[in-house]
Symmetry: C3
Subunit: 276 residues, 3 copies
């Protein structure tokens, strides 16, 4: 209907290209919300398997790892591996222009210095395209080791967000303490001390409301509230969040994105205040 | 019930006066919202036919023209032509005090230096009156010529507001380009370029969601986003907005106010960036 | 289930203590909202009858009096009279951490220098405790005399809040004028004068929407809008507010808190501007 479709057709047979389409733009919008406060720029590494993003936050304290699998997209084509260096605040601005029900297509030609986002309304009568300059970013592949964790806690993501928000009022750090019976979150300041204890759910009626703990040995670690609050920007991506902890290694906060992948945040414990 | 009613009764037979009543205050509230950011003060010209307001915006770039017809009011009386110079921020403050279901009456005596707004609740148990000093404003009758336009575009007002808001993120100017097939809105900045294309609605199920284009010849003009965003403050007055364009003459952005009149905004195109 | 329960059990038989429990935390949350902008700190006096708080506001212009009766709590125990000096902004921070459906328990041991708030979720799977340091505050028992008032006005609390908010746009003071027919609220500034008249409700269908006036003699008094606006922070505690006025004595603004008590605000009239 619009000329863009014709030019697209020609590209298909002449140029190596990357193209990924999602019927609902809301997933990509939420992913950007989940990372844009931690990262100002990042590289989206695209290959046959899907899209990967790994980056330290701006102050090099925490680490973000995003995976979007090729099979989770409604259309996915990647002729040759390509790394797209994005300015995330510009990308977020662009994605805010997509209606929640719009289809979003992200595409780039091989060796191109721009990426294009196309949003199409459900009735096809509104088509928007946004072309954004790519950035040359240093590649830093971080190689996160797979670790066995002493404790994993699965809990409602909204509950975790609420706890992080509430406790950050009382102190800069939060202690997370996991035992077989439950998990305790604590913070303390000049005037007040706060403890929030969650018991493991006795009988699980609704999977997404459950608190489930798997524990080899109890762990108590201290973290900076500020970063935990950044991580909870991913809350809308998933009903549940999973916390994985072992002594002296970074906490993993993981949100699974239904049908397409996950986002994981890593945060080293504070050493000085550790009281395990 | 309240003394004000008696004094009103006496006035009716002794003094030339202006009085206009609307059963729902919400129309007048929305009209003020639609003009108060562009104009700090304006003259309401009242005669037998109704109320007219015409004024350049504060920076003399755009022009606002408001018509409220006498027959659209639930009561309308204007014994002699009267010009009411209003401080619009004071008037807006006053109208915010009206409940949405309140009846609003605006009245002024001949040669008076105040205007009075009376708000009555549906059950008559709350009656508020606000008296506001009038201003002596220079009358500038602007005589807008009736023009035939090369293109008129009718589209959902909320869609137009969304497009103006979205594109103003990317640049200070917006190009509006109208052809038979559709209308395209574009903006570009340092990092990104944005194009939003709307196709003419194929089959019209809901009148208020339609995009309808009438075109004699294609037109492409460039406008300052800031003013378009001011104009979209009128969005709540009407489901649809109409854009009228010809080369080298001001754009007209018109919102019809159901049953009572319309508000029109005029904005000259930017010459230097025109690329028709 | 949690260790706290055991330690509580031991205290019961060894130490004099205070403990008050409400099944819904929302009442206590709203009480704090209603006082925290007027008072930075206050003493909660607890005895067999319940909890009392009386304090001048920070600038010593108005007075707050809060009563929560023992029988309104779901559990109430006070072994010995105890005065708890609270930092209200810390207490408000803590109460914001309670879910609206949480049970809240406030407790303190005799001679303790802390008070503890325990919030329990409906399913008991989340238990939070917040310990807050108490303050040594001067006790000022203010002995408010019981007065017969010339006028009492009962009206919807939301209507009163709206009127105070609206009129405070026009002037710093508000005149409240009560006659048999109704009550009039007025304010005036440089450009505008505002009058809002409420008639006594003719037939009362809904008790909470009624305006009811009891009057021995008409009263007209002037008050600072700012303080009336502070008082209306209590609006969510009650559908109705009662204003009591006599010439030359403080206005009383009373909100009854269903089933448990009331909050009263006292404000002296402005002398210079009185125009009775």
């Amino acid at each position: 209907m619009l000329m863009a479709l014709f030019s697209l057709f020609i590209f298909h047979y002449t140029i190596k290209m990357f193209e990924a389409r999602l019927l609902r733009s809301s997933i990509l919008k939420k992913v950007l919300e989940a990372i844009k406060d931690l990262l100002t720029q990042a590289t989206f590494d695209c290959d046959d398997n899907g899209i990967q993003l790994q980056a330290m936050d701006n102050s090099h304290v925490s680490l973000v790892s995003l995976t979007l699998r090729a099979d989770g997209f409604d259309k996915y084509r990647c002729d040759r591996n390509i790394s797209l260096g994005m300015n995330l605040s510009s990308m977020s601005k662009i994605l805010k222009c997509a209606g929640d029900k719009d289809t979003v297509t992200m595409k780039a030609q091989d060796n191109a210095d721009t990426v294009t986002f196309v949003f199409e309304s459900p009735n096809q009568e509104k088509v928007s395209d946004y072309e954004m300059k790519l950035m040359n970013l240093d590649l830093e592949h971080l190689g996160i080791p797979e670790t066995e964790y002493s404790c994993t806690i699965r809990m409602p993501s909204a509950e975790f967000a609420r706890i992080c928000r509430d406790l950050s009022q009382f102190g800069e750090s939060m202690v997370i303490s996991c035992t077989k019976e439950g998990v305790k979150f604590s913070a303390s300041g000049d005037i007040s001390t706060a403890n929030i204890a969650l018991a493991q759910t006795a009988s699980i009626d609704k999977e997404e409301e459950a608190v489930v703990i798997e524990m080899d040995e109890p762990v108590t670690l201290t973290f900076a509230c500020q970063y935990l609050n950044y991580f909870t920007k991913a809350t809308s991506l998933s009903n549940q969040v999973q916390l994985s902890m072992s002594a002296d290694v970074p906490l993993v906060v993981e949100y699974r994105i239904p049908d397409i992948g996950h986002i994981r945040y890593y945060l080293a414990p504070k050493i000085e205040e550790e009281d395990s």
